[in-house]
């Protein structure tokens, strides 16, 4: 029985690997992301960006804020893409401080809060406060490109499916609209 379970687990991992899907959650170490874990669980998941914003201002960098979920296949796909192409992409991330918000699919819009300084807003309200059109629907994964004042550098799409090739990821980093 144990052998059968072990074989099943091995097969599952092998299939994921064959599909090019990373099994570990979060961005690859090469991106030197600031990892932000949620506070307030299980009632809510509050992600505090305060330290990241302060560091970005100090270092005169922009923020590349990535929201992923530990049980989200699309997140694994984007993370695997970034990891696979790290050598080529990491130098282009230099103007950005990468922030890795680690959530889970069970955290939906009403329970996800973004905190900056003394202000903590639920997802939709946070989006409206910065003029982001993605207030209607929380999609995992999500990326924000923000300046040091937490203002969007450009309107980002829901999800990451439209920038999972190297040229398209570079378009995003160059703020091409």
């Amino acid at each position: 029985m144990k052998a059968r379970a072990a074989w099943a687990a091995f097969t599952a991992v092998a299939l994921l690997a064959a599909a090019g899907v990373a099994t570990a959650a979060g961005l690859a170490p090469a991106y030197q992301a600031m990892v932000v874990e949620p506070a307030g669980l299980p009632a809510r998941a509050e992600f505090d960006l305060t330290a990241a914003v302060q560091r970005a201002r100090k270092e005169k960098r922009r923020l590349y804020v990535y929201l992923g979920a530990n049980d989200c296949p699309y997140c694994r796909k984007y993370e695997a893409f970034l990891e696979k192409n790290a050598q080529e992409l990491v130098p282009h991330f230099a103007p950005y401080l990468v922030v890795d918000l680690r959530s889970s699919l069970s955290v939906q819009a009403n329970a996800l809060f973004i905190k900056v300084g003394s202000s903590s807003l639920p997802y939709a309200e946070f989006q409206r406060s910065i003029g982001d059109e993605r207030a209607r629907l929380l999609v995992y994964p999500s990326v924000w490109l923000l300046d040091g004042n937490v203002k969007p550098l450009m309107q980002m799409p829901a999800g990451t499916g439209t920038f999972q090739t190297v040229p398209e990821q570079l378009e995003i980093l160059r703020l091409e609209q």
């Binding site: 059109e133 439209t162 378009e171 609209q177």
Partner: protein
């Protein structure tokens, strides 16, 4: 007019069976320049405009669309005409296309000089990476086109927002910048309507929601036609349009809306 548009829609739907002609290594298309053609456009062009020449100078017509929008089901589109609507020369028809949508002809607008300026804004569903095109036919027969390549997907099958079904057909008209007598006055028109594409899945029943969308909008001021629009489900839910009209004295601005299930709705706004 409607019949000819429908023929093209049917042809567009049939074209789904045809393979994409150009693809780079890795599967990305190569015709991603904003002014590039596409196999779908070549077919549509032949059906809609025959062999007529189409100019692409930005001075005549400009289409403004972001490369990536927040949602594929709601891509903001702005059309700016470089030509004032004067009797001697004006834009008499505007056609809006989304090359790769299942029904690529999103809108055909039949215009008059009553709009003053042929600028329009709306939101479109875009189903996959595609060119969006606006083609203006002038009163002298010239054709002018502006196009943009956009990178969004899933716009025709996005989960529907059905929280306003009790208000279906409610048609609102506003003049957000106030009334400018004898000058182009911007108007916001919105119809509360799901504009169901037929490709959306009901998450509860796991059945496809039948198509049900705004088919036409006719805008008039007093007894004068401002413009008529033949529409399709490529327009986003709760179809919204910004356009201009020139009020020449007090009157009533009126929008007559008809949907694909023969629902008829009217919105009016008194202009003083």
């Amino acid at each position: 007019m409607r019949r000819s548009v429908l023929k093209v829609l049917a042809a567009g739907a049939a074209s789904w069976a045809l393979p994409a002609a150009r693809a780079a290594v890795g599967g990305l298309p190569t015709n991603v320049g904003h002014a590039d053609s596409s196999p779908e456009w070549e077919r549509l062009r032949e059906k809609l405009f025959g062999g007529r020449p189409i100019e692409t100078a930005a001075s005549r017509l400009q289409l403004i669309v972001p490369l990536r929008a927040a949602y594929g089901a709601s891509v903001p589109v702005k059309i700016v005409s470089g030509l004032p609507q004067r009797p001697e020369l004006y834009v008499r028809r505007l056609t809006v296309l989304v090359d790769k949508n299942p029904s690529p002809v999103a809108a055909v607008l039949d215009l008059t000089t009553e709009i003053g300026q042929a600028d329009f804004e709306t939101r479109l569903r875009v189903d996959e990476y595609s060119h969006i095109r606006a083609i203006a036919e002038l009163s002298n027969g010239e054709l002018h086109m502006s196009s943009r390549y956009v990178k969004v997907s899933g716009g025709c099958s996005a989960p529907p927002n059905r929280d306003q079904l009790h208000n279906i057909g409610k048609t609102l008209l506003k003049v957000p910048e106030g009334v400018h007598m004898d000058a182009p006055t911007p108007v916001d028109l919105q119809v509360v309507h799901p504009n169901d594409t037929g490709f959306e899945l009901n998450q509860v029943t796991v059945m496809y929601i039948p198509p049900h969308f705004v088919r036409s909008i006719r805008v008039s001021y007093g007894d004068r036609k401002v413009f008529d629009a033949e529409l399709d489900f490529s327009i986003s839910e709760n179809p919204a349009w910004r356009f201009n009209f020139v009020p020449r004295g007090p009157g009533t601005l009126r929008a007559d809306v008809e949907d694909s299930k023969e629902g008829r709705y009217v919105g009016t706004l008194a202009i003083a």
